[in-house]
C-alpha cells in the first residue's frame, strides 16, 4: 500500500550514544532503514543524519514522530524528491584482468564523471558520486568485469534553495 522510499534528515545533538538511540528505536519498532549516514555540521553541538526508510505514509508518520520523541533529536524533516538534492558516494574495486578492460572502464568513469583513485596490476578503485540510480547504473556496468568490493556511504541530502532544516519547527 503506497510503499515508498523516503529521505529523512535529522538534526541531532552531537553526543555519544545518539546513533544507538536512533538505530535501536528503528529496530525495536520494526522500521526498515535502507541507509543511514551521519556527520558533523557547521555547529559543533549538532550532527546531521540522513536516513532512508521504506514504508507507506502511515509508517513514515510514525517514524518521524518516534524520532521526534527521542530527547537528543532536535529536528526531523522529510525531504521530498522534487525540492531536494541527494547524493551518495560509492567506491568500487573492479577487476582489470580481462583484456582491454582498463581502457573501457576508464571511458565509463569519464562518462559518469567519476575518478579512478587507485590502480594495481589487476584491479582499480573507482570513486563515483551521484544519486542512487546513477550509482546503481554504474555498478551494473562494472559487473561483467568482476566487482571485487563495493562500499557506499548511504544518501546525504539537502533542501534546494534558501530553506534549511534548522529553519523548520520540530
Amino acid at each position: 500500500m503506497g510503499e515508498k522510499i523516503h529521505i529523512l534528515v535529522a538534526l541531532v545533538e552531537n553526543k555519544p550514544g545518539v546513533m544507538q538511540r536512533i538505530s535501536g528505536m528503528f529496530s525495536r519498532r520494526g522500521f526498515n532503514i535502507d541507509s543511514l549516514s551521519v556527520g558533523t555540521t557547521e555547529d559543533p553541538h549538532h550532527s546531521r543524519m540522513t536516513i532512508t526508510v521504506r514504508g507507506d505514509n502511515r509508517v513514515l508518520e510514525q517514524v518521524v514522530k518516534q524520532m521526534n520523541k527521542l530527547i537528543p533529536v532536535i529536528k526531523v524533516r522529510d525531504l521530498s524528491e522534487k525540492t531536494s538534492v541527494s547524493r551518495e558516494l560509492c567506491l568500487i574495486k573492479v577487476s582489470t584482468s580481462k583484456q582491454d578492460s582498463r581502457a573501457e572502464i576508464a571511458q565509463y568513469v569519464d562518462i559518469f564523471r567519476g575518478n579512478i583513485i587507485d590502480v594495481s596490476l589487476d584491479s582499480m578503485i573507482v570513486e563515483i558520486t551521484g544519486d542512487t540510480d546513477k550509482i546503481n547504473a554504474f555498478i551494473k556496468l562494472m559487473q561483467p568485469y568482476g566487482i571485487k568490493e563495493v562500499s557506499r556511504t548511504g544518501i546525504t541530502a539537502m533542501h534546494r534553495g534558501h530553506k534549511s532544516v534548522k529553519d523548520q519547527k520540530k
Binding site: 541531532v12 545533538e13 555519544p16 550514544g17 544507538q20 538511540r21 535501536g24 528505536m25 525495536r28 502511515r58 508518520e61 510514525q62 514522530k65 518516534q66 521526534n68 520523541k69 527521542l70 530527547i71 537528543p72 533529536v73 532536535i74 529536528k75 520540530k170
Partner: protein, 567 residues
C-alpha cells in the same frame, strides 16, 4: 564537594524526600553522603525490583516523582523490569545506578554492565555521567524530563570515580533546557472547536478516558465536561478512578476484561472522544473492528500515540487538563439550540441503561470455595467507607482482573496496577511506595499467590519502616490466569500452572513479625480484612478461592469487543 554529594544536594533541591534502594560497591560514595546529613530518607529494600516498583507506586499514588537507587551490574539489572513497567505506564521515576570507574568502563570489570545500553529502550532518557561538573545539570535534567510532558523513567548511571571527584565552583542550576524536547501542552483551538462540535452533534457519543487524565490531574474537568454534555465515560485499566466509578455517567472499564455495556457502547458510538490513552490491544481487541461506527477524537500529550494503533479523525495534541478546560470553555458558550441537541441523546442513554440491567451479573456470594468476587465486594465496603484514603494496588492475573471488572474506584491515584507490562510481583512494592507517599491512607494489595511470591520478601522492609500494607491473597494454589487460558483455549491441558508447594502464609507472616490470617469460609472474609487493617501491621489475609472460576465476560485475544465469551 564531590560528585556524590552534588547528586544528593541536587535531589534535595528537586524536593526528593524518599529514596528506595540497595547499595553496593559502586554506589557507596553516594550512600556515604546519605549517612550524615540529608533531608532525604532512604528505605532499604530486599530486592532492587522492589525498590523501583516502590518508587513507581510512590509516584502513581502521589503525583510526585519516585526515586530509586542501585549499585552497578546486578543491582542495575534488577531495575530493568520496573523501569520497563514505568515506561509503559508513563510513571515518573528517577533511577540512579552506580557504575565502575570511567577508566574501567568497557573492560568487563567486576560488576560492570552496559546499563545505559540496556535501559535505552525502556527509559524516557538516560545519562552516563562522565565529568563531575555535569552532575548538577544532570540531576536537574533527569527530574525535569521524568516529570514533564508524558512522564516516564529516567536513569542516571554514575561511575564511581565521578562520585569521588571534587567539583570546583558547585552551583545549582536554576533551569535546564533541551533543544529537542518541547512538549506541546496547549491544544490547538481549531481542533478543540472541531472536537466540541462533533460531540455536540453526536447522537451516540462516548468518552474513553485513559491514565493520562489522572496523570494530568484533570478528573474534575473531565467530569464537568461529561456532565455538561451528558456523555457517558468508560475507562482503560489505568484510567480507573479518573472519574468516580459509581457516578451515573460512569460505565466502568472497557476492553478485554471490561463491562459488556462499555464494549457495546464503544462499538455503537457515533463519536468516541478518547483522552490520555494509547489504544492498547487490551482496550481495542482487534483494532480493525474497533469502534466501527465512530468518528474518533483522540487527545494525547504524546503526538506519536495519535494514529499509532487506531486511525483518528480529530487529533488533539496537548495536556489532558488543558484540553478538557479548553473544551469546557467552548462548550459553555454553546447556544441554547446547540445544547438542545442533548435531548436527541436520551435514546442512547436509555440503550446504555438497558445494557447495564441486562448484563448485570448474579454472583453466589455464599459459595464454598469462596468466589473471588466476594473478596472484591468486601474490599469495596472498605473503599466506600473512606474512598479518598483507601488505595488499592493489584498484582497481575485473575486477582487483578476481578478488581478491574468489579471494583468501583472513586478517586484518582487510588488505583495502582501494572497496566502495560502486566508484571507479577509489582503490586506489593507499589503498595509499599504508595504507603510511604501517603502515610494517612489505608493501602491494600490485591494479590495472587503466584504474584505475591515474586516480591514477598519485602515484608521485611514493611516491618523495618512500619509500613502497614495489607496483602489480600486470592489463593487458588495456581498461576490462575494462565490456568484459565489453558481451560479456555488449550483444551484444559494444565501445563505447569499448579503451584504445589505454596508456603503457609500465616507462618510466613509470623516469621517476619507481620499479621496474618487464613480464611476458608465466605462469612469470615470481611471480618478478617477488618482485623488486618486494625492490626496496624503489615498483614496477609490468605483467602482460599475457587480455582475454577472464570473471569467472564471476556474478549478472546484478537477478538471483537462486542463478541465477549461468557458462561
Amino acid at each position: 564537594m564531590n560528585g556524590a554529594e552534588a547528586l544528593i544536594r541536587g535531589m534535595e533541591k528537586e524536593g526528593v524526600e524518599h529514596i528506595f534502594g540497595i547499595l553496593g560497591g559502586a554506589i557507596m560514595d553516594v550512600y556515604d553522603v546519605l549517612f550524615d546529613n540529608s533531608t532525604i530518607k532512604h528505605l532499604t529494600c530486599r530486592h532492587e525490583q522492589v525498590a523501583v516498583f516502590a518508587a513507581s507506586g510512590y509516584a502513581r499514588a502521589s503525583g510526585r516523582i519516585g526515586t530509586c537507587m542501585a549499585t552497578s551490574g546486578p543491582g542495575a539489572c534488577n531495575l530493568v523490569t520496573g523501569l520497563t513497567d514505568a515506561y509503559m505506564d508513563s510513571v515518573p521515576v528517577v533511577a540512579v545506578t552506580g557504575q565502575v570507574p570511567t577508566t574501567a568502563i568497557g573492560g568487563d570489570a567486576f560488576q560492570e554492565a552496559d546499563v545505559v545500553g540496556i535501559t535505552m529502550p525502556i527509559t524516557k532518557y538516560n545519562y552516563l555521567l562522565e565529568r563531575p561538573e555535569d552532575v548538577p545539570l544532570t540531576v536537574k535534567g533527569a527530574y525535569y524530563l521524568a516529570g514533564t510532558g508524558r512522564p516516564g523513567p529516567v536513569l542516571i548511571d554514575f561511575p564511581k570515580d565521578i562520585q569521588q571527584a571534587s567539583i570546583k565552583n558547585y552551583k545549582t542550576p536554576k533551569t535546564v533546557h533541551f533543544g529537542g524536547y518541547n512538549p506541546v501542552l496547549d491544544p490547538h483551538p481549531r481542533q478543540i472547536a472541531l472536537a466540541v462540535k462533533a460531540l455536540m452533534n453526536a447522537e451516540r457519543p462516548l468518552i474513553l478516558s485513559g491514565g493520562g487524565v489522572i496523570i494530568s490531574n484533570a478528573s474534575t474537568e473531565l467530569l464537568k465536561l461529561a456532565e455538561l454534555l451528558g456523555i457517558h465515560i468508560t475507562t482503560t485499566s489505568l484510567g480507573k478512578g479518573a472519574v468516580p466509578e459509581d457516578h451515573p455517567l460512569a460505565l466502568g472499564m472497557v476492553g478485554m476484561h471490561g463491562k459488556r455495556w462499555s464494549n457495546n457502547a464503544v462499538q455503537e458510538a457515533d463519536v468516541l472522544f478518547a483522552i490520555g490513552t494509547r489504544f492498547s490491544d487490551r482496550i481495542t481487541g482487534n483494532p480493525k473492528y474497533f469502534a466501527p461506527k465512530a468518528k474518533i477524537i483522540h487527545a494525547d500529550i504524546d503526538p506519536s500515540e495519535i494514529g499509532k494503533n487506531v486511525e483518528v479523525d480529530i487529533p488533539i495534541v496537548g495536556d489532558a487538563k488543558r484540553v478538557l478546560s479548553a473544551m469546557l470553555q467552548v462548550a459553555k458558550k454553546a447556544s441554547k439550540k446547540e445544547m438542545s441537541r442533548r435531548e436527541k441523546r436520551t435514546e442512547w442513554g436509555k440503550r446504555i441503561e438497558k445494557w447495564k440491567r441486562e448484563f448485570a451479573r448474579d454472583i453466589n456470594y455464599d459459595a464454598v470455595p469462596i468466589k473471588p468476587q466476594l473478596i472484591v465486594r468486601e474490599v469495596q465496603k472498605i473503599i466506600d467507607a473512606d474512598p479518598k484514603n483507601t488505595i488499592i494496588a493489584t498484582e497481575v492475573g485473575r486477582n487483578q482482573l476481578w478488581c478491574m471488572h468489579y471494583m468501583n474506584i472513586r478517586n484518582p491515584r487510588n488505583w495502582l496496577t501494572s497496566g502495560g507490562l502486566g508484571t507479577m510481583g509489582a503490586g506489593f512494592p507499589m503498595a509499599i511506595g504508595a504507603q510511604v507517599a501517603r502515610p494517612e491512607a489505608r493501602v491494600l494489595n490485591m494479590a495472587g499467590d503466584g504474584s505475591f511470591q515474586m516480591t514477598m520478601q519485602d515484608l521485611a522492609t514493611c516491618m523495618t519502616y512500619g509500613i502497614p500494607v495489607v496483602n489480600i491473597i486470592f489463593n487458588d494454589s495456581s498461576l490462575g490466569n494462565v490456568r484459565m487460558w489453558q481451560a479456555l483455549f488449550y483444551d484444559k491441558r494444565y501445563s505447569e500452572t499448579d503451584l504445589k508447594n505454596n508456603p503457609d502464609f500465616e507462618k510466613l507472616a509470623d516469621a517476619y513479625g507481620a499479621w496474618a490470617k487464613r480464611v476458608e469460609r465466605p462469612g469470615e472474609v470481611g471480618e478478617a480484612i477488618h482485623e488486618a487493617l486494625k492490626s496496624g501491621k503489615p498483614a496477609i489475609v490468605d483467602i482460599a478461592v475457587d480455582k475454577d472460576e472464570t473471569v467472564y465476560p471476556m474478549v478472546p485475544p484478537g477478538g471483537v469487543l462486542h463478541e465477549m465469551l461468557d458462561e
